[in-house]
């Protein structure tokens, strides 16, 4: 996770890739520098993706310390926040993703308990 290395893409570009890889999970993690929760969220997300979405996911990390204006698009309030851009509809999971069960439900990788 190095801010500046993965330049955040514009909405137009994202839309373009959406078309190209419809079966790819496009995930965006909003962080604020290297706060402990941000670090934890990134680690948890990576582990979770490797386990459940191996080979068909892409994580984009947006550092709001560097680009706070990028929060507006997804209406981010709390950090860290994970946004599932694709597949639609857009889903958000707030927090450090330490609760795996809740995260899986939030990403609709597992049905919610009745």
């Amino acid at each position: 996770m190095k801010e500046g290395q993965d330049e955040p893409k514009t909405l137009a570009e994202i839309a373009a890739t959406e078309q190209a890889n419809s079966d790819v999970w496009d995930l965006r993690l909003y962080v604020a520098g290297r706060t402990p929760k941000s670090v934890a969220a990134f680690e948890n997300l990576q582990r979770l993706c490797e386990e459940h979405l191996a080979g068909k996911y892409r994580i984009e990390v947006v550092d709001l310390m560097v680009h706070p204006q990028l929060a507006r698009g997804d209406q981010i309030v709390a950090i860290p926040t994970l946004v599932r851009k694709l597949p639609e509809p857009i889903r958000k999971v707030i927090g450090d993703l330490s609760n795996v069960e809740r995260t899986l439900v939030g990403l609709q990788l597992r049905p919610a308990k009745p």
Binding site: A32, G33, T35, P36, K37, S38, A40, L64, M65, P68, Q69, A71, R72, Q75, I76, V77, A78, I79, P80, P89, K92, V93, I94, G95, D96, L97, S98, N99, G106
Partner: protein
């Protein structure tokens, strides 16, 4: 009436609202669960507010507390360490973060730390091991790990540097030992009245202990620390010698050992003993003279007193020995002197008992009378000496004409003088005053002295009788023309049982002792000397009779 289109739209809106609600609920939940550590604030959400700022006081506390602490992942990687922890390892906090704690542990302690990390996952673990600083120096440390608890980022590690603590403890022990040693030294100085000095020969400065100042009779801090100030305390007669001895000790790198006198501010003179040793630098050049002073005045006085007593004792012993020898000698003389007349008596008695002519019997009778007279005189002398000795010698004084007294004695001696061909020359001034004396005793005195002079003067010699007078005393001198007295004998001749050798042995040597007793009983003085002509002179004084 709701159209299908509007129903569709309503459902969509409903769905969106539900999603928004879920999102809001999830945000609140995440905030409550502490899964969030930053929020976006401002109308356009344009400012990020991290909770890092909020926990700054805690962060500061952890960073600055005087305990080395760090958080570890389960694998032992350091997530965060405080400033103290980093400085213990001589690294920055950034350099430490991310590295494994194991990498800071000495090789032989690696298994220990691994076992501890394993235990630390579930329950608190502690152990003492050796850490390695960035420069390779070992640190003996005490490590304790608290297991990660719900919601915590990692395991908590606390490190106590035992090296520092041990060094501190050692320092404290050393300081305690020093204090004790100092106290002991001071006590010893006080008890032994020992003053310590240190003379820096390069700067000329002199350091004195408190006891040294007391030794020199100065108040505390009364010594100004200069060599000259010490020099001035020295007794003028000892100053140059003592200073030279100090300087020589330094120049020749010799042990100092000397004694000298000082004059204290109150004028008291004291004897000081100084011992010292020269301290040299690496090049062998003298740096300091370090030494001790002790007050030996009392020792000196005691030594002198002991010497005096020894001398007195030696003299008394010699005196006693001589007295014993003299008594032994006189006993032999007395026995001999008494036996001579006794033999005469026995022989006369024997001759008379066997008959014989009238003339012979008369001769024998005369002999017996002469012998008994001699024995009576001898026994009388012994008794006189005993009386003088025990202070029971008394006189009965009356005024007596000096000239008449001397004429009478001279007449009495005339036959004996004539028999030996001696001449008695009297030098008596006409103006000589009368004396106040015991007639019998003074006649005995003069007879004794003339008797002696007669014995020591060879045939044809002269005996002089000189008289002079002062206001209170008449002095009479009897001079013979004999061999005189040995100088060594002069002080003893008036002691009882003394007799000049090798004069012809006659009398038990009591005569002069009796003479002295008689003169002193009259309040006069008697002394012996050798006359310029070579003979011996005995002079004595007798009191002048008052109107």
């Amino acid at each position: 009436m709701i159209s299908e289109q509007s129903l569709d739209q309503l459902q969509r809106e409903n769905q969106q609202l539900r999603a928004r609600l879920e999102e809001t609920e999830d945000t609140i939940r995440a905030l409550r669960a502490g899964e969030v550590d930053a929020v976006l604030v401002g109308s356009g959400c344009e400012r990020v507010f991290t909770l890092e700022t909020a926990d700054k006081p805690y962060r500061l506390l952890v960073d600055e507390m005087p305990v080395s602490a760090a958080t570890l992942t389960e694998r032992g990687e350091i997530i965060h360490c405080n400033r103290r922890f980093a400085s213990l390892l001589q690294l920055s906090q950034e350099e430490v973060a991310g590295r494994s704690i194991t990498s800071f542990v000495a090789h032989d302690c690696r298994r220990l730390i691994e076992r501890m990390l394993a235990t630390g996952r579930t329950r608190p673990a502690e152990c003492e091991l050796s850490l390695r600083r960035a420069d390779g120096a070992p640190i003996t440390a005490y490590l304790s790990i608290a297991p990660r608890h719900e919601g915590a980022l990692g395991e908590c590690l606390v490190v106590t540097d035992l090296t520092e603590r041990r060094r501190y403890e050692e320092l404290r022990r050393t300081q305690e030992a020093l204090t004790v040693a100092q106290a002991r030294l001071e006590l010893a100085q006080e008890a032994g009245a020992i003053g310590i000095f240190e003379w820096n020969v390069r700067t000329g400065e002199v350091w004195w202990s408190r006891t040294a100042e007391r030794l020199y009779g100065m108040p505390a801090s009364g010594f100004d620390g200069s060599f000259d100030a010490w020099r001035r305390t020295l007794h003028p007669d000892d100053r140059e010698r003592t200073e030279a001895e100090y300087v020589r000790a330094v120049e020749e790198h010799r042990e100092l050992g000397t004694e000298f006198r000082i004059i204290r501010p109150d004028g008291q003179t004291r004897w000081i003993n100084a011992k010292g040793t020269v301290i040299v630098d690496s090049a062998g050049e003298p740096l300091r003279l370090l030494g001790v002073n002790t007050d030996i005045t009392d020792q000196k006085a005691a030594h002198a007193e002991r010497e005096r007593l020894f001398a007195m004792e030696r003299a008394a012993r010699a005196e006693a020995e001589r007295a014993v020898q003299a008594r032994d000698k006189v006993l032999a003389f007395v026995a001999h002197d008494l036996r001579n007349p006794l033999i005469g008596i026995e022989m006369s008695a024997s001759t008379m008992s066997s008959g014989g002519t009238e003339e012979l019997r008369a001769q024998c009778l005369h002999m017996i009378q002469r012998c008994t007279g001699e024995m009576r005189r001898l026994i009388g002398d012994l008794l006189d000496v005993a009386r003088i000795e025990y202070g029971r010698f008394s006189i009965l004084a009356t005024p007596l004409d000096t000239r008449g007294m001397l004429m009478e004695v001279a007449e009495a001696f005339q036959p004996r003088l004539a028999a030996k061909g001696l001449r008695l020359v009297q030098e008596v001034p006409a103006s000589v005053p009368p004396v106040y004396v015991d007639r019998g005793r003074v006649m005995q005195l003069l007879a004794n002295l003339l008797d002696n002079a007669l014995k020591f003067t060879p045939a044809g010699g002269v005996i002089r009788l000189g008289v002079s007078s002062t206001e209170n005393f008449v002095e009479i001198a009897v001079t013979d023309s004999g061999p005189g007295l040995a100088a060594a004998d002069l002080p003893y001749i008036f002691e009882r049982f003394w007799k000049a050798e090798p004069a012809s042995r006659a009398g038990a040597g009591l005569g002069l002792a009796i003479c002295k007793g008689i003169v002193e009983a009259h309040g006069g003085e008697i002394r012996a000397e050798n006359a310029p002509s070579g003979g011996a002179t005995i002079r004595f004084t007798l009191p002048v009779a008052r109107g």
